[in-house]
Symmetry: C2
Subunit: 213 residues, 2 copies
């Protein structure tokens, strides 16, 4: 891909952008690279090329590449949590409707996308060796479990069933969904999205029937 007939000593023309915007562009380019090549896609050169800029820009905006990856992780985490929370907020304000919305959103086409989940799994694999990403993950995981705990607590109060340890129950439900995402991502034949919804609802049904009392 040659630049269209540049003179002998002309430099490439470029557009100057606000730092936050460029950072976001680079972060999204990173996500696209990970979609395409997994871990192997994480490279200054590939990401710069994907974003249509030179490598130096990444150094300039992020210092080292791990910082860019962590930033991309943050972008994605926020995006996912937000889209799910949004679905909950838009549901009818009854505990059951809100929980249903949560589950449905979790298995909507936005989430049941191998590209999305594939990037997610790659991030998981990076967290253990990146204190920076680990901190983000703990924060985000806490928020997530907290949200689930709220939904489950509201439901139990509304319907009058007992849950011995609400936080643990939320951990369990979260684990179930993560596990289903992972299983489907690695092997989409394992179950259909609608079956994922059903399995989550079955878990809730167990909760109703006092399995966690």
């Amino acid at each position: 891909m040659t630049t269209a007939k540049t003179g002998p000593k002309t430099r490439a023309r470029f557009r100057r952008e606000a730092p936050e915007e460029r950072r976001r562009q680079l972060g999204e380019a990173a996500l696209r690279c990970i979609v395409k090549h997994g871990n192997a896609g994480v490279s200054v050169r590939q990401i710069a090329a994907e974003a249509g800029v030179t490598q130096g820009l990444i150094t300039h905006h992020f210092g080292e590449i791990n910082e860019l990856v962590a930033y991309a992780f943050d972008i994605m985490s926020e995006g996912i949590l937000q889209s799910i929370v949004k679905a909950v907020e838009e549901a009818e304000p009854t505990p059951k409707a809100r929980l249903d919305a949560f589950i449905t959103a979790s298995f909507s086409p936005i989430m049941m996308d191998r590209d999305v989940l594939g990037v997610w799994v790659v991030f998981w694999s990076l967290i253990l060796h990146s204190p920076r990403m680990s901190a983000s993950q703990r924060q985000e995981y806490g928020d997530y479990v907290g949200t689930v705990q709220g939904l489950l607590g509201d439901l139990s109060r509304e319907e009058g069933f007992v849950v011995a340890d609400l936080r643990l129950a939320a951990v369990s439900f979260t684990a179930l969904m993560d596990g289903l995402w992972l299983a489907w991502c690695l092997n989409p034949d394992a179950f259909r999205p609608a079956e994922g919804v059903r399995l989550c609802n079955n878990w809730i049904e167990g909760l109703r029937r006092g399995a966690h009392a």
Copy 2:
């Protein structure tokens, strides 16, 4: 680490090993490298150094490095599945005791080890971009779910409760455990191993009470 006083033109002495043994040594060295450095540990040079051999040996035994990684994945998969299955076989032959053994083994110190689980997560992240590993994973996942399905089916027959779709229930239980492993690996403060056992038992209790009927 210099070799002890080699003459000017002497070559390093070495021991010749049977191919299968050497392959296994290299596979285990690869696992150790992944423990230490995650994805970044996957490199011909690092693995060869870890195994105490030269790089060429990896090419010789595996051709390309991805083949070695896939082999390491197979080693680990078999090891884990075997240790769990063994615990089940050693339990009393009642459905409940066997299932208990399965759950207990799944949260024993052998599994609740961040090094072990960390490697596991790295492998997950590689599967999506490696047809060879993907094939292994599907096979192994099928075996695993099949084992779970057998345990759940036996219990339901013994205790006389109804499960609408046994395969789906096994998928769900498997997902719960994978999700708990993942959560604990990324954040060991999320719950204690004994609580993991309890959460699995709670899931089973839901099954008993007809949540999946």
